[in-house]
Amino acid sequence: MTGTSTGVFSGLRNWLLLPSWLVIGVLVLSPVFIMLVYSFLTKEFRGGVIWDFTLAAYDQFFLDRGLFGDEPPKMEWTYINIFWRSIWQALLATLLCLLIGFPTAYFIATRPPSARTVWLFMVTVPYWVNLLIRTVSMKFLIRDNGPVNEWLLATGMISEPIHLINTPIAVQLGLFYSYLPFMVLPVYAAMERYSFSLSEAAADLYASKWFTLWHIVIPSVRPGIIAGCILVFIPSMGAFLAPDLLGGARNFMIGSLIEEQFKGTAGNWPFGAAASMILLSAVLLVLLYYTHYQSKTGIAKN
């Protein structure tokens, strides 16, 4: 046990590390730095860049200088609003996922082991099913003349179809539906380690069930809840498919804004790179908070 550095393969360590360092370093890390550089370059028409350093892309994101760029700068709200919409849509999706995901995870954790495996498998499968197909299915389902409206009309619960497509509600539904498994799995992983004798002790001391849930269970599984929230929040914030397929042009989120800069001839690569950097910074802030939180509380766990 002591000689950890004398394993059979220790001598090969650097050779074994090389492929992943090379592939991820070259194909993920260095591109992010190049993207950072691009966000300070000048745009060329028809996509691409001119190697002149400028703050124009960030300027365009935050400031409005009029059509010809000669007016005194004002705050430009268009993109800040898109960014803000992405944040609150992602927060709302996280909250909804938590409201459905936590009880589900709790319920699964209280099943007998064999049933637990089946439930867990059922929740995991959609996680791996193509996100595009899942979003298209949602679009099919909630169209004006889709099955949900048809069914509600047929049962007489509504007299006119509910218009959902191209509304913020449809985008929200799409995000929530896309990332729900991301919440259930980490919360379940934490629930699995929770010792129910704590709940029994609380009951013996005359705590009500909901008091126990709020003051004993939830604090115990908080790391799992936070991990789940981050796993839902980050992809929701950068989502492209849900706002694009379910939201249409009026419900742009930052993912759709970025995509637009790199498609077709109207693209502005430095601006797209700047918007990506702003999104990445927001995500890194969330992750920094998470590692900070983990280093504060996580050590006792292991």
């Binding site: 550095s5 190049i34 319920f107 099913v129 298209v136 993912g255």
Partner: protein, 271 residues
Amino acid sequence: MTGKSQDIRHYSGFLPISLICLVLLYGPLIIVMIYSFNDSPSITVWGGFSLRWYDEVFHGLEAPKFKKAAFNSFTIAIMAASTSTVIAVCTALAMLRCGNFRGKAVTFGLVSLPLMVPEIVTAVATLIFFSTIGFKAGYATILVAHIAFCIPFAYLPIAARLQGIESFYEEAAVDLYASRLQAFFQILMPLMLPGIISGFLLAFVISLDDFIITNFVKGAGVETLPTAIFGAVKQGIKPNIMAISTLLLMLSVIFVTLSYLAGKMGSRDKG
């Protein structure tokens, strides 16, 4: 005894919420599956059971386009998953069998980087990277991007499996004068196999399903199944799209189930 403790654990309302969760997750998929068997050319009216849209996927007007896309998708997925699985095995050996070393945490961070960064940011960065070095967008760019993106998905099950294998197996082999290569290929790799299979299958599904990165780096003319489906959906959801979606969906389910069974096969001979 169990009756009392079950009662304390039980919250009324949690069962219905769990069922709602399952209905939400599966409802839309199942409805699309049902409608893919609809005989009527209108996607709203039910006209009886039929396989005509599946026939159209394979023999219809758009069949050559989808066949080409399917060919690209499968060949890319097989190559990307194999390469990333090999890289993941190497990384897992270094991380779990070479003691503590400087840069271990950094390596773990690096390997999980594609999971942390929003996919659209990776997509933009990769596109800009390829364009800067003058790598022409097409089949090869998709493949290279997929290899990087698949590594963490292959790594996690492989590392989990390797963690459960005591190091005395390969130590015994080396004590008995096996070379390191023999110790790996004849002793350790067979023990790791369930994790390797599971990791390969997950990487395969991830590559097969990827839309966002592929859409950015594919260039004009080269399509994979998801980008072909996306292009078709932009013109409206047609029944043949539902049929092809159902096929792709069934394939993902089969692969995930196999990956799950492979992982389970591993844990059984431990306990």
